[in-house]
Amino acid sequence: VPAHTLADAAPDPTGDEALMLAYAAGEAGAFDALYARHKGGVYRYLVRHCGNAGTADEMFQDVWMNLIRARATYAPSARFTTWLYRIAHNRLVDHWRESGRVELVGADPDDDDDPVAALPAATAEEPDARVAARELGVRLADALRRLPPSQRDAFLLHQEGGLALAEIAELTGAGVETVKSRIRYALARLRTDLQDLR
């Protein structure tokens, strides 16, 4: 169930959709509010995927510039957050295609043979002193980086973007059940990776 629906957000003058429409009409201050509201989530979505701050900065700027250029064509037929993360997702796919890495869509390993249960306990072999020294966030970020791209993408869109399953499914071109499965597999692998912290 989506946390926010379009019908609920439309009458709200401070809602994302109203702000985006105001910006499209020439009100620059609306963009400031939108940017302040969503810059962190988008940035972390990108930096968790690529793991490189420089690359994430470049993609982050491209995402917002694409949004600025496309402002005139924006129509509140869907949530603004969905539109924003679609732009970010597409930019990420472009980046991975350019770098020759695996694609987000299509290479979906989440089937019954997915070796989630057979994953080695990555942190189990690490010294306790080192585990203790690392912050929780760093462990989590590392665990995310080891996730399959499709699972990481679904997980981050759900966790950082706050998108519903249906929105993620529409954005990534996968089915709702597939998205749900990806998120569950991602959670399972993260728990496995971070089980020593329990």
Binding site: A24, Y35, A72, E160
Partner: protein, 280 residues
């Protein structure tokens, strides 16, 4: 985790333990320089970029005067051209057009018989063509109006000396009378008297008259001219018309002959025989 998302979401796909981890990572934000760059681009685009379609519509009423301004500009240019050319040039161009064009041109001046008379009179010496272009020619003063041909007979040479006029009623174009008068002048048959010079001016109106009216005027003028011909010469002309099969002109010529020489019906009968139409 998204810190802007409402808390306490009972999402089965979330793990509260990871939420705490996301809280620790949520301080990760883009560099301030990147923020400033993006915000500046957003503001710059709004200030200088093209406006959306809905906003552009609002500027349309500001341009309602464009067609009006274009029309005013065209009017000003046309007025300036008229000022440069002047009314004299306009009249000249009209006269020139009447001379060179065979098409019937509608003229505001009526084609009166007086206007056609000088062209038909072989004694009338038209002014040089250069003078026809003057404004005085286009609008001749009243005293210099051409007189009817019979009144000029005393100063005219004998009819035998006159050049052979074109057959009357010949369906020629409107410029034909002018050509006849011009040929007379070139031949030097008639002296260029003031009376003979002035009547040439109305030739232009006659030339611009419609073709049927010009033909009628020409026939009338020819009739007046034939009244001065000797009987033998006139009969010779009638015989020639008959030989050429110009029945319409022949009928007019016979009528004119009968009017001029009512007592010479016998000569006419001898000339035409059974082809002579009955007298009206």
């Amino acid at each position: 985790m998204n810190p802007d998302r409402p808390p306490s979401d009972p999402d089965p796909l979330r793990d509260p333990r990871f939420d705490a981890g996301w809280q620790a990572l949520s301080r990760e934000n883009p560099p301030p320089a990147l923020d400033a760059r993006i915000l500046a681009a957003a503001h710059r685009t709004v200030a200088a970029g093209p406006r959306p379609a809905g906003v552009r519509e609002a500027t349309r009423p500001e341009r309602w005067w464009w067609p009006l301004a274009a029309a005013a500009s065209i009017g000003a240019v046309a007025f300036g051209i008229l000022q440069v050319i002047g009314p004299d040039r306009a009249d000249v161009s009209l006269a020139e057009r009447a001379v060179v064009s065979d098409a019937p041109v509608q003229s505001s001046r009526p084609a009166t018989p007086e206007a056609a008379a000088p062209a038909s009179a072989p004694i009338a010496a038209p002014p040089p063509p250069r003078q026809r272009n003057s404004r005085a020619d286009a609008a001749p003063p009243a005293p210099s109006r051409p007189k009817p041909a019979p009144l000029q007979a005393p100063i005219a040479p004998p009819p035998a000396a006159a050049p052979e006029p074109a057959p009357p009623g010949l369906a020629r174009d409107a410029a034909a009378p002018r050509e006849t008068a011009g040929a007379s002048a070139v031949g030097g048959v008639a002296p260029a008297t003031p009376q003979a010079t002035a009547p040439a001016a109305p030739a232009a109106p006659a030339a611009v008259a419609p073709a049927p009216a010009a033909a009628a005027l020409r026939a009338e003028a020819q009739r007046k001219t034939n009244a001065q011909l000797p009987i033998d010469e006139w009969l010779s002309r009638i015989r020639k018309l008959r030989a050429e099969g110009k029945t319409d002109e022949l009928a007019r010529e016979i009528a004119a002959f009968r009017a001029a020489y009512p007592n010479e019906e016998r000569r006419l009968q001898e000339e035409l025989g059974r082809a002579l139409p009955p007298r009206e």
